[in-house]
């Protein structure tokens, strides 16, 4: 009734905007503004589906190959059948995969935690405090991101040599404990953190140190989780620096994977796929664990 009354009134008043709506069924105007036509929606979904397949296919193929029988690694069927764990058994015989995964996990976790901690402290100082030279110092800090790894590689290596940290996991972790990425991202999040919360905590009797751990960190969990997984993946995928420092192939999984390539009988694809598949599992597990926080962080970042 209301619709028809409006239509009659609009038509009688000769309102051009309303005339454009004549003949439409009421339900047709209920969609989101700019929702587009069904054809556009179909094309959009098709493109996204293709992109998703392009992302998922190599990973699916890796696991498919790893689960084939060793004699079937060159088979092209999308589903491995009959299933076999022979490649995994073979990979475990060729490299000490368990200790390698443990080492890699320990290095990646320590690196990510260290970078989170230093980033958190530096970002808190830059965001919550005002001190002379703050801006130039922050720009210098962020500017270190622009310095290529190759420039710092040799000095860091020399330093580790003098400190006697070559061939140790500590030597891999310590030079990477501070990264501009974590300072930059956490400062951005803290800048948008309500200042009144910090002031309220100070009025309620907390010191700056206590405010950080009892107010700021609990409310930055999504951002810390998202950044944590990015830092962990970066550290997990690192190849060159561990190879330089550790100087042996059986310490970390990325170095171990190299052992399946270019052997006297060519590449060992079955073992490589199985070891790679195992190397990806911790990352997947971490993502599943922190997924809720990560999605929340990205949503909030988008809204702010």
């Amino acid at each position: 009734m209301a619709v028809s009354t409006t239509a009659v009134t609009a038509a009688a008043a000769g309102m051009p905007g309303e005339r454009r709506g004549e003949g439409r069924r009421p339900g047709e105007t209920d969609g989101p503004v700019g929702g587009g036509s069904p054809l556009g929606s179909f094309i959009g979904h098709a493109v996204l589906t293709l992109l998703s397949l392009a992302c998922v296919l190599p990973i699916g193929w890796m696991y498919a190959t790893s689960l084939r029988r060793p004699s079937d690694v060159y088979a092209t069927s999308p589903l491995p059948w009959p299933l076999s764990v022979g490649n995994y058994r073979h990979a475990a015989e060729v490299i000490p995969i368990g200790p390698m995964l443990f080492n890699t996990f320990a290095v990646a976790a320590l690196t990510a935690l260290g970078q989170l901690l230093t980033g958190l402290l530096a970002a808190y100082a830059f965001a919550a405090w005002r001190f002379p030279g703050q801006r130039p110092l922050y720009l210098l800090f962020v500017g270190t991101w622009l310095v290529p790894f190759q420039v710092t590689m040799v000095p860091n290596y020399t330093l580790l040599l003098r400190l006697g940290l070559l061939n140790t996991l500590a030597g891999v972790v310590i030079p990477t404990l501070c990264t501009a990425l974590s300072v930059l991202l956490l400062r951005q999040h803290m800048e948008s953190f309500p200042k009144e919360l910090l002031e309220a905590a100070r009025m309620d009797g907390r010191s700056s140190w206590s405010v950080l751990w009892t107010v700021v960190v609990p409310n930055l969990r999504p951002a810390l989780a998202a950044l944590g997984i990015v830092l962990f993946i970066n550290a997990w995928n690192e190849y060159f620096w561990p190879a330089m420092v550790l100087q042996r192939a059986n310490s970390m999984i990325q170095l171990g994977l190299r052992g399946f390539l270019g052997g006297t009988e060519g590449n060992d694809w079955g073992g490589l796929m199985a070891a790679s598949g195992l190397a990806c599992l911790p990352i997947f597990a971490l993502y599943v664990l922190l997924q809720r926080h990560i999605v929340s962080a990205f949503i909030h970042s988008g809204l702010k």
Partner: protein, 395 residues
């Protein structure tokens, strides 16, 4: 209860002076409202009292102890913020108990005090909820509870009602008044809402551009504004401020402007000068246009219906005069109108400085003639000048 003394407090942000040499003495149990328009420095002043901002100069004394550079946690003050600043990750119970945990009080004591505060503020059923699950009014009560639970020497409140709707604000005003009456605590309350100031304060401090314009009881600042700014800021609609010329005419003080002719007391000769005359809309009364000498003559332009009252906007010469009274006022747009007021309802302000003028009667001994004089070096906390003839020479 604490006594807060502020001595010449100033805060400069690069080239901007947000608070300019403000001195105040806030007594035990005072409910002092810092009132002023946005950007006048009232929140900055409150934050300096709290210790959240370091002053550029001046001192803050708490019960005689200089706390100017003491960290907020070592001042015996609690603060309620405009946004309430509740910790989103904590339940209501843990929010209220937060200041006590900071002071490492025993768990049993914390539980007991939180329960008492929750019952007082009718939050007992909401203790397990998080702030996002509460309405605006409930959040505001939690913020008050968090301040209350500490039993501080003074409460600082930064526009705590500004996020509430009109009905809830009225109810909460009453609750805060009752709370102050019950606790007898010192409260410093920042607002730009004159209704909050008039209804809750025991004293009002009006700020303008970082400077203190006037301090006094709500009645004093409304009835005897120390400056044209205070006169204009307090009151809805605001006081009519009309530029007039004050001269001696037939031995009486007379104020002239197009459409305005006001005869005051006998005065003898004095130098004529331009001043600003103020009169509140509710102090004006309409008189028959045939009346012999009404103060104002003009034409009604609009009449606004406020429900129980009406406000008529009248053109008087080049100026606009607002007349407020019970509905119906009996005025219609376009008609001529004559308006009068009691002489003791008129206020005089210096045209240049805006300060209240007083009538300085001539001395008996040979001396300069009588004059309307602007204030001398009297402190702004007391009325800068009084129209002394009002009491000395009733009209």
């Amino acid at each position: 209860m604490s006594r807060i003394q502020i001595d010449g407090l100033t805060k400069c942000f690069s080239k901007v002076t947000a608070v300019d040499r403000v001195s105040l003495d806030i007594n035990h149990g005072d409910f002092l409202v810092l009132l002023g328009p946005s950007g006048c420095g009232k929140s900055t002043l409150l934050r300096m009292i709290a210790g959240l901002i370091e002053p550029s100069s001046g001192r803050v004394l708490l019960d005689g102890r200089d706390v100017t550079f003491t960290p907020p946690r070592e001042r015996d003050m609690a603060m309620v913020f405009q946004s309430y600043a509740l910790y989103p990750h904590l339940t209501v119970e843990r929010n209220i108990g937060f200041p006590l945990r900071s002071r490492r009080r025993p768990r049993a004591e914390i539980r007991e005090k939180v329960r008492e505060a929750a019952e007082l503020l009718e939050l007992a059923d909401l203790l397990d909820r998080r702030p996002r699950q509460l309405s605006g009014g409930q959040r505001q009560r939690v913020a008050v509870g968090r301040a209350l639970v500490r039993d501080p020497g003074a409460f600082l409140m930064d526009e705590p009602l500004s996020n509430l709707d009109a009905k809830l604000r009225t109810a909460t005003r009453g609750q805060l008044r009752a709370l102050h009456h019950r606790l007898g605590s010192t409260i410093v309350y920042v607002t730009h809402d004159q209704v909050e100031a008039m209804t809750m304060a025991t004293r009002v401090a009006v700020l303008n551009a970082g400077r203190l314009e006037q301090v006094g009881s709500p009645t004093e600042v409304y009835d005897r504004p120390a400056s044209a700014f205070v006169a204009d800021f307090l009151g809805a609609p605001p006081m009519n401020l009309l530029p007039v010329r004050a001269e001696s005419h037939s031995g009486r003080v007379r104020l002239f402007a197009p459409g305005i002719e006001v005869a005051l007391w006998e005065a003898g000769d004095f130098p004529a000068r331009d001043i600003v005359m103020g009169v509140r809309p509710e102090h004006l009364v309409t008189v028959p246009t045939t009346a012999e000498s009404p103060m104002f003559r003009g034409r009604v332009e609009t009449v606004e219906n406020l429900g129980s009252e009406e406000v008529a906007q009248c053109a008087v010469g080049d100026a606009t005069l607002l007349v407020r009274g019970p509905r119906p006022l009996g005025l219609r747009p376009g008609e001529q109108v004559a308006v009068d007021a009691a002489a003791d309802r008129l206020h005089m302000f210096d045209q240049a400085s805006g300060h209240r003028l007083r009538w300085r009667a001539p001395d008996v001994s040979p001396s300069p003639p009588a004059s309307l004089s602007p204030p001398s070096s009297s402190p702004p906390s007391s009325p800068r000048a009084v129209f002394a003839s009002r009491s000395a020479r009733p009209v």
